[in-house]
């Protein structure tokens, strides 16, 4: 992930009013995590699994603050249960930013299931998402995700793909 893309993500988060980020680090976004840790305006919380991160983000939303859950797209599978309960059952939204593992061009066999399951899972959960493959579209996508989620009281996702994460 290029430094310019990292800057776009952080700029998008700040523009959306995000002050707290929960993450479980992955390799495609590996440059993003230390940058978030260094940023004085963003508190980072490292979690043990993505479902826990989703729940923490839900609690942060209850507090009135804005947060983001950043992870590899495989984390969506781990987070599905708490996301379903919070979003469908209680109207507590979580905005997710995830890397697109298993996309066309993927050369790691273990990552293929992540690509096969991500979009079907998002669709099954009725979670709107935008796949972003250009740096100049990152900030807009993040802003739109927060606008939608805080209008709908439901989750949304920004999927960073293509040249953004390579």
């Amino acid at each position: 992930m290029r430094a310019s893309a990292v800057e776009q993500v952080i700029a998008g988060l700040k523009a959306a009013g995000v002050t707290i980020v929960c993450y479980l680090p992955d390799s495609l976004l590996k440059e993003l995590y230390p940058a978030l840790d260094r940023d004085p305006d963003i508190r980072t919380i490292r979690v043990t699994n993505e479902g826990e991160g989703a729940a923490i983000c839900g609690g942060i939303w209850l507090s009135g603050k804005k947060s983001a859950l950043i992870m590899e797209n495989s984390g969506l599978r781990a987070a599905t249960e708490p996301l379903a309960r919070m979003g469908m059952g209680a109207g507590i939204p979580v905005v997710m930013i995830m890397s697109y593992r298993g996309d066309l061009g993927e050369n790691n066999w273990w990552a293929i299931p992540h690509g096969m399951t991500m979009e079907p899972l998002l669709n099954a959960m009725r979670i709107p998402y935008r796949i972003v493959g250009r740096e100049d579209a990152i900030e807009r996508a993040i802003a739109d995700a927060y606008a939608w989620s805080h209008t709908a009281y439901y989750h949304s996702a920004v999927v960073l793909a293509g040249s953004v994460v390579r």
Binding site: G64, E81, P82
Partner: protein, 223 residues
């Protein structure tokens, strides 16, 4: 001491705290043991999410003290939160775990007797004061019957957020006199009857009657 008595002791020491609690029989007990905390208590039906949500609330509201009333089943669903709490060391969070020695409030899946004896007594330290650091207790109440009256059905389906997220600048402001978030109204939860309904905020939480009855009843076997 049974669970209800422990709740009463805890409740007597709470005043301005916010409470997140798990679903199940302990919900009714808590609302009876701590009637003065009812407007500041939010029960959540997400297994494994109670303490993480309480932690998130504590992170977002560092000027408030947050209490998580979790269950053994809920905690076992996501033990990782204990590592996260150890890592983060939240100063304004108290975690209590109720151990009813069963995987369901219905007791249909109670543990075998061989596993029970050592945990039938209360293992928590006496509730002395709210912490200056986070504390995590495991409280075993065995199969003791609780002392709360169940005649009055508690139907307060509570959903909450502190702020209208549309006015982010107001979200983080606090009223210096009451030390509560100074925010206005929000549109209400997503239920068939109250979608779009405006509500006022009490103690930082918003409350609505749930149109479909008590979710605790519907989901009790999962808790």
């Amino acid at each position: 001491m049974n669970r209800f008595e422990c709740m009463q002791r805890l409740a007597s020491r709470l005043k301005d705290e916010l409470v997140i609690l798990s679903l199940g029989a302990s919900v009714d007990e808590w609302y009876n043991a701590a009637p003065h905390m009812r407007s500041a208590s939010l029960f959540q039906q997400q297994l494994g999410c109670v303490t993480p949500q309480a932690f998130g609330l504590a992170v977002g509201l560092p000027h408030r003290r947050i209490v998580s009333l979790d269950t053994d089943g809920g905690m076992m669903f996501n033990l990782g939160i204990l590592a996260t709490l150890a890592n983060e060391q939240p100063q304004n969070l108290l975690v209590v775990v109720w151990d009813n020695e069963a995987t369901s409030p219905s007791a249909a899946l109670r543990r075998t007797p061989r596993a029970a004896p050592t945990s039938r007594r209360l293992r928590a330290a006496p509730v002395s004061s709210m912490p200056t650091r986070s504390r995590h207790w495991t409280i075993s109440t065995g199969t003791a019957r609780t002392g709360c009256a169940r005649a009055r059905r508690m139907c307060s389906w509570q959903r909450s957020t502190v702020a209208s997220h549309a006015t982010s600048s107001a979200n983080t402001a606090t009223d210096e006199k009451t030390n509560t978030p100074s925010c206005g109204t929000w549109r209400g939860p997503r239920t068939s009857s109250s979608w779009g309904q405006a509500s006022t905020i009490r103690n930082g939480f918003i409350h609505h009657a749930h149109a479909g009855g008590h979710p605790c009843v519907a989901h009790a076997k999962r808790g």
